[in-house]
Subunit: 250 residues, 2 copies
Amino acid sequence: MLTTERHQLILDLLKEKQSIKIQELVELTSASESTIRRDLTELEELQKLERVFGGARRMAPNMPEPSLSDKAAKHLTEKQRIARYAASLVQTGDAIFLDAGTTTAQMIPLLKDKDVTVVTNGLSHLEALTEHGITSYLTGGFIKARTGALVGPQAIQSLESYRFDKSFLGVNGIHADHGFTTPDPEEAAVKRRAGELARSCYVLTDQSKYGTVSFAHIFGLSEAALIIDGLPDQALAEIERQTTIKVVTQ
Amino acid sequence: MLTTERHQLILDLLKEKQSIKIQELVELTSASESTIRRDLTELEELQKLERVFGGARRMAPNMPEPSLSDKAAKHLTEKQRIARYAASLVQTGDAIFLDAGTTTAQMIPLLKDKDVTVVTNGLSHLEALTEHGITSYLTGGFIKARTGALVGPQAIQSLESYRFDKSFLGVNGIHADHGFTTPDPEEAAVKRRAGELARSCYVLTDQSKYGTVSFAHIFGLSEAALIIDGLPDQALAEIERQTTIKVVTQ
DNA sequence: ACAAAATCAATCATAATCTTTCATAAGCAG
DNA sequence: CTGCTTATGAAAGATTATGATTGATTTTGT
């Protein structure tokens, strides 16, 4: 068995199993314990997994927030619920824009079999996109190291080459008077243009940030549909009454 | 069995198998081990597959390979020597274009303290660029999963926003009649335009591929300076005599 | 807390594979 | 036919992967 075949096997198993014992791998590959150990060591150096006593486990994509780990996990399922609904709106053959951000990232695995074309300004989306074999285009622009987003006039200009069936944007807040808000003015500009270039525009948020606009920049786009979770019905009704935003729930 | 038939067979097998052992190929083609090795080497240079110990595997759709400690290339020191010289040409404050590819990647750490602005179409350069705190812009375009390069009309269009003090391009071959060559026509187009948009254009290669143009696409640009290593002086002289290419050595 | 069991890192010899080099054979132009 | 180029196979020596062994470290059971 080829070395890379073993490596691939291990990574594939970890996609389904979360963790795995060395003894299992010895049986599965009929390689020696030493070899498996070496494999795990190498894969760990490549940041593909984390060794634990007796085996290995999947890299935790957990941004360590020790005190709020429960809350983070709760947000994760919220993100996933929203992403699942957003992905269900995508039809076979659609050309879509995926905004940078963790919520839209959750959509990617769900687009696998839809034969979509994706344009994104999120560098962190790339790995998942190529891994799932999705035809992908990247906008150009300045690399915002903190968020991995491409922004600036170049980003907006390279958007102009495209027209989208649907745009999926992430936001930090919603405000009755101002519409959607996000902390970074440059990212807001990209979002706005991406929304304008789409026939339909959907805004995703898992944060319950209605009304609290701090350090936020407006990006307008009151015509978008809002996919949200975690806000009381009363607030949703208020949004629909006071704005032209259309609220969509699962 | 014809050489190209073997090549096609290998590529076909890799469409279904992910990876393949040299011994299997020896049995399937009843060619010698040496021949299969040569086939794999050639196909690797064309970026059609990746050699691994004992066989070959499909180009990994996962391009991010933490690559610094990598033992990847025997050409590494050559690459580094070339990269060091190329980087020495960069002056403080320059705006430069860095082509995708492993040779230009070696330049990045050396640009750290030069206060440069970098534009690149190489996704695999990103990690190093941000890590060294270099102001970076990315071109847009279609994501070529095999090489991690951004190509296509969108890539070229987003180049138009920029003007460079210097462009640094990687190539696979040099040909007296045709100028520089590279296997992929789309990547060639990007290289060509990036070269045109620069006041000075430097071409880097660590491959001693003078004259052997196989499956190559020309990208012209005979006005560029060539930074090379590993060719005999005689060949360099011939290049300068037969073309308008200016050869630069360290 | 202690001892037994399991797991680990380090080392070494061996086997498999790799690169380089050379010689032969096949195709082709003059 | 001769001279040239290209493809091929074979062999030597270098490199890499593997499996077994050793003694250290960690976990587990009591």
